[in-house]
Amino acid sequence: VQEARARFRPVHAALLALLAAALALVLAPARRLREDPSDVLRALRAARGPALPSPAAVGAASLSAPGRYGKDTLADVIDGAAEAYLANGFVAARMAVYAFDRGAPLEVSAEAHRFERPDGARAQAAAERPRRAEPVPGVEGAISDGTVLLAVAGRDYLKLTVVTPGAGGPEALATIAAAWRKEQGP
């Protein structure tokens, strides 16, 4: 035993300390990821492309089958407006219509667009900003005039339009935008 103790020198202690530090560096982030599965979900969603919240997440009765569009098909669905999107670095879009069951029919057309860079998403939102749009309380990066709501989060751009007459439109817009913003993450 005395012989073994004699062989343990300060350099060994230093090596052990280095090993412990390396282990901590590897394990700490892994532990953090394990503790927050929403980060994983967000990363998976981001990799899938632009997304719209589920109808359940926004309290809608239904969501029409979402259409997916790319650079070659965007013009089929928004005609000549597609050129401005492409110039801003459009990558892909998802579009659908939310239907709410609130007595009177209430429907909201929703478009989630992804751009190559955040400044492309911001430029498109600025180009389509309604004249009387105001920030939407509680929804970071969202503006609305009550009929149209625009929001940007990173490379993604959300555009919502109320397509039914009557009350409840602004509230529905804010609800969808809040759910979308939450799914986008910080």
Binding site: S64, V77, E83, V97, R131, T147, V148, V163
Partner: protein
């Protein structure tokens, strides 16, 4: 020829391999070049010319203003000599509104349903055997025709409404950038065609009016016409020669077109222009968008091709009712 050594030398092998590679590249390149290109069939029918001669003292292009779109349509038709001047008993009339968008009438992205219904009734009174209303929408066809109010208004007035789900497209002989694109089949059996666009902003061509409205009769692949939009619009105007053009400026979308959405982008103009000169009708429509005809490239293109005139002083203004 000697029956001895049939082997080829290294040099000849290289030459032959190079030739084979060149031939292969030519075939592959040709395939890639022509892939996806539509070629008009030699036996494809031509688009009919639906124009009718204008006789008598009736005006050729007229505009009316007022809050009631039905009255505006009735006034312009009366000044043009009535729908009877254009539609005969037994005609199959196709009305081509803009129903491209899943939007409410108040959002002004589609032709106003009241304007269309008034035209349907006028055609019926003129003795049309069949009145068709057709358009290939950009958004979901069912939603567009329902939300816009077009289906209900047209059917109640006596028309048969055909949206993209019910329309078959057929090959036709079209020159220019649209060559190879198909058109909706009812166009070929219509004996009269009335173009009923809404006047509104368009992100690419600045405005969409009558001549741009022909995009809606084209099948898959029409987006390629955006590459040179002004020339393409003028080319379409040279192919599709309507009996009458009726520009709806009841509500005008001034920004964020063609789909729009915000009510702040809409101005209640309360006007209708109708006539037999599609270029002049579009020139008048430019004014509804606070634009001069010279600011719209497709109007100049069409005028240079002799398809009409852009001098809006030629439009007979009936004033406000």
């Amino acid at each position: 020829m000697s029956g001895g050594d049939a082997r080829i030398g290294r040099r000849e092998a290289v030459v032959r391999l190079s030739q084979a590679a060149l031939a292969g590249a030519a075939v592959a390149g040709g395939g890639a070049f022509f892939a996806g290109r539509s070629v008009a069939r030699a036996d494809a029918p031509a688009i009919p010319d639906w124009r009718v001669p204008v006789t008598g003292a009736a005006a050729r292009t007229v505009a009316a203003r007022g809050e009631d779109p039905e009255k505006n349509v009735q006034r312009v038709l009366a000044a043009l000599g009535g729908m009877e001047a254009f539609v005969r008993r037994g005609d199959v009339v196709l009305l081509k509104p803009n129903v491209g968008w899943d939007r409410l009438p108040e959002q002004a992205a589609n032709t106003d349903p009241r304007v269309l219904a008034t035209l349907v009734r006028a055609c019926r009174q003129a003795g049309a055997k069949e009145i068709l209303v057709a358009d290939i929408s950009c958004n979901d066809a069912q939603r567009c025709f329902t939300r816009s109010g077009i289906r209900r208004a047209a059917e109640e007035a006596g028309a048969r409404v055909l949206d993209a789900r019910e329309l078959r497209t057929v090959s036709v002989a079209i020159p220019g950038a649209a060559a190879g694109l198909e058109v909706i089949e009812p166009l070929l059996r219509a004996t009269r065609v009335v173009n009923v666009p809404v006047a509104k902003h368009h992100g690419l061509s600045r405005a969409t009016l009558g001549m741009k409205n022909w995009f809606g009769v084209l099948g898959k692949g029409r987006a390629r016409l955006h590459q040179d939009i002004d020339r393409s619009i003028a080319e379409l105007a040279a192919v599709f020669r309507p009996t009458l053009t009726v520009v709806d400026a009841t509500r005008v979308l001034l920004a964020n077109g063609p789909q729009g959405g915000s009510l702040d982008d809409v101005r209640a103009v309360g006007a209708i222009c109708a006539g037999v000169d599609p270029v002049l009708c579009d020139a008048w429509g430019a004014g509804a968008l606070d634009l001069r005809p010279s600011q719209l490239g497709f109007i100049g293109e069409a005028e240079r091709r002799g398809l009409g005139r852009s001098d809006v002083s030629l439009v007979r203004e009936l004033g406000k009712a």
